[in-house]
């Protein structure tokens, strides 16, 4: 199933609605990286609220998206990880190091806004 990617101001929002196959995940990664450039997005939010399982491939893909988007000038934040999913991920050692996380979409937007302000203060 293809994941819809919405443009909201300077941000891209990918809202995952159902369990994804590895191919879907790769497709999502490519689409996000391409669109970051096309829309000159400052931030990417991936909403995983609907996922009740997160395997190693999914975690790796999300981490890759973050690093790739950063190289293209965009901050990524993963939002909506369920408590049970977080617990299982930690037990499996899948901890998304170096990836920003937030409670939900609202928090994610607030986080990106804050990052934007920090950047303005730093002057770049």
């Amino acid at each position: 199933m293809e994941v819809p990617i919405l443009k909201q101001g300077q941000y891209l929002i990918a809202s995952i609605q159902s369990a994804l196959t590895d191919a879907d995940l790769s497709q999502l990664r490519e689409a996000l990286i391409a669109q970051v450039g096309r829309y000159r997005a400052r931030g990417v939010i991936v909403d995983v609220t609907a996922l009740d399982v997160m395997d190693s491939f999914a975690v790796r893909t999300l981490r890759d998206v973050t690093h790739m988007a950063r190289l293209r000038g965009s901050e990524t934040v993963i939002v909506g990880i369920q408590p049970e999913v977080a617990f299982a991920m930690v037990q499996l050692g899948l901890t998304l190091k170096g990836v920003a996380t937030a409670l939900d979409l609202e928090e994610g937007l607030a986080f990106l806004d804050q990052r934007g302000r920090d950047r303005v203060e730093r002057g770049n």
Binding site: P83, F87, V90, E107
Partner: protein
């Protein structure tokens, strides 16, 4: 029949002569036994209570109580012998345990009194049949297995009741010992007191993650002042809790690491570099407030600013 099978039968036959008597064979002996115990009820019961007092068992109970309990145990005992069913006795021993455990009666006392009763009854059988050794043997064949089973039932009932109470208390302690408290909008504290085992660590993490969700927390202060000791396992649990909370978008600050724990952690080489630590709970809360953009000022200072 092959020679092999025949040989096997020969080997078995001496054993089968000693097998336990069947239920039909036992029935008349059993009724004789039961009627003997019924007839001598008053006397044997008193003898038993006297022996209990003599051996100083059940010191938490008064003499009248011991006698009353002894009577019911005796009657239940005889009934179990007669019917061969142990449900009533099981229920009674559970009930008895419920009453006497809170008064500090020990396992050895309960086992002790049941064995005493066994002894008293066996002696009365010896006294009755001492002239007819064959009959005594047959009666004992009937009595011994049943008596053992009764002793077993009562002891097991007592121990089970104890274990049930222990489990219940452990559960209560666990529930009491992991409160997640909100001290300010979006700021939670989790004071941990006592021992962290894998089960508790798991429960703690689950509870914390749920609380982060419901309170929409951004910062969590975990205070471990009350944790006496920490090893590599516990430290790893703590690291996992911190990481899981981060996945939900919350920052964790750990406070109150005692000098001993700090030394142990460095000595055993646990990597806590990912973890934000602050000396005490006050410092942790101040740091959390800074992260959340709060600043606590004395009212007087606030007035002068306006």
């Amino acid at each position: 029949m092959s020679t092999k099978e025949a040989a096997a039968m020969v080997r078995i036959s001496p054993l089968s002569a000693q097998r336990a008597p069947s239920r039909e064979e036992m029935a008349p002996l059993l009724s004789e036994l039961v009627s003997h115990l019924r007839e001598s009820r008053t006397q044997l019961r008193q003898e038993w209570a006297r022996r209990i007092a003599l051996t100083q068992l059940l010191r938490a109970m008064t003499e009248e109580e011991i006698f009353a309990e002894a009577t019911s145990v005796y009657d239940n005992y005889v009934e179990a012998l007669e019917t061969g069913t142990f449900e009533a006795l099981q229920a009674y021993s559970r009930n008895l345990s419920e009453r006497i455990i809170p008064r500090g009666v020990e396992t050895h006392e309960v086992v002790g009194i049941v064995l005493l009763l066994r002894d008293v009854l066996a002696r009365s059988l010896f006294a009755k049949y001492h002239e007819d050794f064959t009959q005594l043997n047959r009666i004992l064949d009937t009595y011994e297995p049943a008596a053992n089973r009764i002793a077993n039932t009562v002891a097991v009932g007592f121990v089970q009741e104890r274990e049930r109470i222990i489990l219940q208390q452990q559960e209560a302690i666990r529930e009491l010992s992991t409160p997640v408290l909100q001290v300010r909008e979006r700021l939670l504290i989790l004071p941990i007191i006592g021992v962290i085992d894998p089960h508790r660590a798991r429960q703690l993490t689950e509870q914390l993650l749920r609380a982060i969700r419901t309170n929409r927390a951004k910062v969590v202060v975990i205070d471990i002042t009350g944790v006496a000791a920490m090893d590599a396992n516990v430290a790893n649990h703590l690291v996992q809790t911190v990481e899981a909370a981060r996945l939900l978008g919350a920052t964790v600050i750990v406070t109150g690491l005692s000098p001993e724990i700090a030394q142990t952690l460095v000595t055993i080489g646990v990597d806590l570099s990912e973890m934000a630590t602050v000396g005490d709970l006050q410092g942790g809360i101040e740091e959390a407030e800074r992260l959340l953009g709060y600043k606590v000022l004395p009212l007087a200072e606030l007035g002068s600013q306006n």
